[in-house]
Structure formats: C-alpha cells, structure tokens
C-alpha cells in the first residue's frame, strides 16, 4: 500500500478545509496508508482513527512516504503548512486559485513587508518589487484578486489538484506542472430545522446567507433583493457567519430599514448546527463577486442538504447544471429579487431544485468518487506504475 503524508488543517481548526479533510480521510484511508500532519490540537476522534503528528515531525520523516499531499487555502490556519511546503514541497491541493489574501496576511499582515515584496517580485519579476513599493508608500491597493500570487507554489509543486475545471484552467494558464481537477467532497448530513427559534409566520420566505461575510459575498445585493421582495411578500434573511470589519453590515441593514427582517447568528460553532440552519431556510443565496477560484463548501452543503440554491454565474458556480442551482449575475439585486419571488410562489420548483441538487451532490461529490480521483491524480503525477497500490 502506498504511504501518504497528509498535511492539512484538521478539526478543531475553524476552517472549511479542516472539516473537508475530516470527511475525506476515511475514504482515502481505504486505499492508502495515511499519516496526518497538522498544527495544534487534533480532534480526539481523528487521532484515534489516524496517525496524527505535528507539522514539525514531517521533515525528518519525509523519506518514509511515497507522496506528501498539502492542502492550502486562504486562511491563517494554513500558515504552518505553507512554510513546510516552501521547504519540502509535494503535491498541492489548491483550494483557491488565488492565494494573494493568504500571502498578504502571512507576510505584510505580520509586519514583514519585505517578505511580501519578495512574493510580488517572484510573481512579476522586478516590476513586482516596484508594485510593492507603490503599495507601501503610494497608496496602491493590494491587487488581491487580480494577482493570484501562486507562481511560487506552482513552481514548487509536484502536481496541482484543484476542485473545479475553472480553477484548473486558471492554474494551467500559469504553469507547466501537471494539474488535475478533482471534485470536492461533501458528506450527506441530516439537518434538523430550527425555524421555531426564529418565531416567523409560516408564510414568510426564509432566505439564508451562510459563511464568513466578506465584501465578495455581496450581502449588499442580497439585502437589496430582500428589500424589493418585501414590497410584495413577507421575507426574512438569516445570516450565519462572522462579519469582516470591511463589510458595513449594520449600516446596510439600517439604510434599507431591514432591521426586523434580518437575523444574524454570527459564526455557527459546529457543523451539526450549521447543517441544522441550512435545513431551516427555504432558499440559500450564495453569491461571490469577485471569485478567488474557490469551490464553495457552503454551496456544496446546501446542495447535499437539498436546499434550493442561488449562486453567481461565475467560476466554479457556473459549472453547476441549471436544474441544480439558479445562476445569476452576482450584482443584480433586481434579478435576484425576481428569482426569489418566483421561487416563493412555486413550491414545486423549489422541491425540484432541492431534489436535483441532492442527487447531483451525492453523485458528483461522493467520497468514494473523490478518493478515487485523488489517488488517480497522485499516480499520474508521481508515475506510480499501474496506478495506486491499494
């Protein structure tokens, strides 16, 4: 059996990639010998099921593995894995095609602007150093979405796995290293609706916006649509997720006089509660503009929960079939309001969307299928003769 070093944030780290890894590991472990490397505490159940070691233990043991699989995304939870990847790279699972947010935070965000300059210069050549100078001294904004800042990661890697064809195409445009698109995994979970906690009348359409509220989530558009929708029918918005300081959510809600029609849960601490709230809403709205080439775990959880889902018509979201999710321009509040009104009046359409979504997620994002795709990619990248040895 091949031996794989699996390097990723793991629960209780509060990042979607940690939850994702918890769901993926049992499927991979059926085919490959796993050792996990992670920063900080690891969930006792995972420690019991798998060998879990601190990140620092990887370097001296790296000879003992056929491959090292690194999961990286735009969260500070990836800092240790990124530093390790810089010294001892392997196969890279790029959870977002744009890594600028993470790298800016990991360097300039920690007061190490010269390190940020080095990253920009690596990406763009000496022009990158000039850009850094402009950012530091002349008010040039960080080109967080325009410049992916992935060149070093791609150059280091032995192969790159993305979770969408869209992200794979973005990566292939930047590198000659082998790239594979492997579907993201989502496990079906049973949610228990909590609508009674909100005290809403039965006729009120309940919309849900889930995940960290960033400017790219376009909650402004969702609120604008809610305001329009409420002119013709009762509707309420549930926001489940922390709010980034750059999003003036209170001001937006106050300006649109929606204070009584929005419930803010803040960050939902555990996955079971998150799934409960997903099961509570009538429609999930998951907009993203701009996109960093991510595959949305929230959208996947909404799909597998069989919730009607509205997404932006861009990036990975545009790969969702039209019978599975409604795709709209991310900034069109009028179109969103009209779509929501149509869905509100058409229970059969909502049920059909939910049913198609659940079937799609269970088929395309099933653990067995995802694990096989991972192992196929590893075998291709590393020249394992006859594929992987299970």
């Amino acid at each position: 059996m091949h031996r794989l070093a699996y390097i990723s944030p793991l629960p209780p780290a509060t990042t979607g990639v940690a939850d994702y890894s918890r769901e993926l590991l049992p499927y991979l472990a059926q085919h490959i010998q796993l050792t996990c490397f992670a920063t900080g505490d690891v969930d006792p159940a995972l420690r019991q099921a798998f060998t879990c070691l601190p990140l620092a233990a990887f370097a001296p043991r790296r000879w003992a593995f056929d491959a090292a699989l690194f999961h990286l995304g735009n969260s500070h939870h990836h800092a240790g894995g990124y530093d390790l990847f810089r010294r001892h790279p392997g196969v890279l699972v790029l959870h977002e095609a744009v890594m600028h947010h993470f790298l800016a935070d990991h360097t300039a965000g920690r007061g190490d602007f010269p390190a940020y300059t080095r990253e920009l210069a690596y990406e763009l050549g000496p022009a990158g150093a000039d850009l850094a100078l402009g950012i530091q001294f002349a008010g040039t904004p960080h080109p967080l979405f325009a410049l992916p800042l992935t060149r070093r990661l791609l150059d280091l890697s032995l192969g790159i796995i993305t979770h969408s064809r869209h992200a794979a195409a973005q990566v292939r445009a930047l590198t000659d290293r082998p790239v594979a698109a492997v579907p993201a995994l989502v496990e079906p979970r049973t949610g228990h609706p909590r609508r009674e906690q909100l005290g809403l009348p039965p006729e009120t359409l309940l919309l849900g916006s889930f995940g960290l509220v960033t400017p790219a989530r376009r909650v402004d558009v969702v609120l604008g649509a809610l305001r329009r929708l409420r002119e013709t029918r009762p509707a309420h918005l549930l926001i489940a997720g922390d709010v980034q300081p750059t999003v003036p959510l209170d001001t937006l809600i106050a300006e649109l006089e929606l204070g009584e029609h929005v419930t803010r849960l803040g960050r939902v601490p555990d996955l079971a509660a998150f799934v409960d709230w997903l099961a509570t809403v009538d429609v999930v709205v998951n907009l993203r503009q701009p996109t960093a080439g991510e595959t949305s775990a929230t959208a996947l959880r909404a799909l597998v929960a069989g919730r009607p889902l509205i997404v932006s018509d861009a990036g990975w979201y545009a790969e969702l079939p039209p019978d599975v999710a409604v795709r709209l321009p991310a900034t069109d509040a009028a179109a969103l309001a009209e779509t929501l009104a149509n869905l509100a009046n058409d229970e059969a359409r909502r049920a059909a969307l939910g049913s198609a979504a659940r079937a799609y997620a269970r088929r395309e994002h099933h653990g067995e299928r995802v694990a096989a795709a991972y192992l196929g990619a590893l075998a291709d990248f590393l020249g394992w003769r006859g594929g992987y040895r299970g």
């Binding site: 000879w63 003992a64 491959a67 690596y122 000039d130 008010g139």
Partner: protein
C-alpha cells in the same frame, strides 16, 4: 494614485524649488528678490552638489534594479532546486517501492572527523 514604477526614479531626482511668498501684494516681489539673491550667492555653489547627488541617486536606483533582478532570478532558481529535490525524493520512494528498501528517517548529522 502614483504610478509605482516611477516612485524610485522620480524621488531619485533632486530639483530646485522656485521661491514663493504668501505675503499679499508684495509677495511676488519678495520671491523675485530671494531668487536673485540665491542666484548671486548660492546657486553657483549648490547646483554642482545637486547634480552630484542626482548622479549618485541614478546610480543607486540602477544598482537597486540590477540587484532586484538578480534576487528574483536567484529566488526562482532556488525554488526550482527545491522542486527538483522534492521530485527526486518522490522518485527515490517510487524506486524503493519497486524493489528496494524504504528509506530511513533522517539521522542526526555526525562530525566529519567523528567515529
């Protein structure tokens, strides 16, 4: 917003500043007198130093650009070497699987002249 490409180039050049006065009515006359006085007593002395400073600044900016280009090239070269080392490590593991023994963990380094 500044064009970042210009920042070093632009700031490298020391320029003379015209004299100005905010005094009402006679302000322009004061500025003119200051300029003439400066021409008479300081310009012949200061201007060569400004030119010397500008020549030095241009040299520094040019050297910085060259160093930056070298730094980028070395950074990319080092990254490529780290990649190749990782590829070789994976290749060794694959060859070991096909007939050899798996490689051991790193051993602590011994002194060259040790036992």
């Amino acid at each position: 917003m500044d064009n970042p490409d210009d920042i070093l180039q632009r700031q490298a050049e020391v320029r003379e500043r015209p004299f100005r006065s905010t005094v009402p009515v006679i302000g322009p006359a004061i500025a003119w007198l200051r300029a003439r006085w400066s021409d008479l007593v300081a310009r012949w002395y200061v201007l060569p130093m400004v030119e010397q400073q500008n020549a030095f600044n241009r040299l520094v900016v040019s050297q910085l650009a060259e160093l930056e280009a070298r730094l980028v090239a070395q950074d990319r070269q080092q990254t490529e070497l780290i990649h190749r080392l990782a590829a070789l490590t994976a290749e060794l593991a694959r060859l070991g699987d096909e007939g050899g023994e798996p490689m051991a963990e790193d051993e602590p380094a011994r002194p060259a002249d040790g036992p």
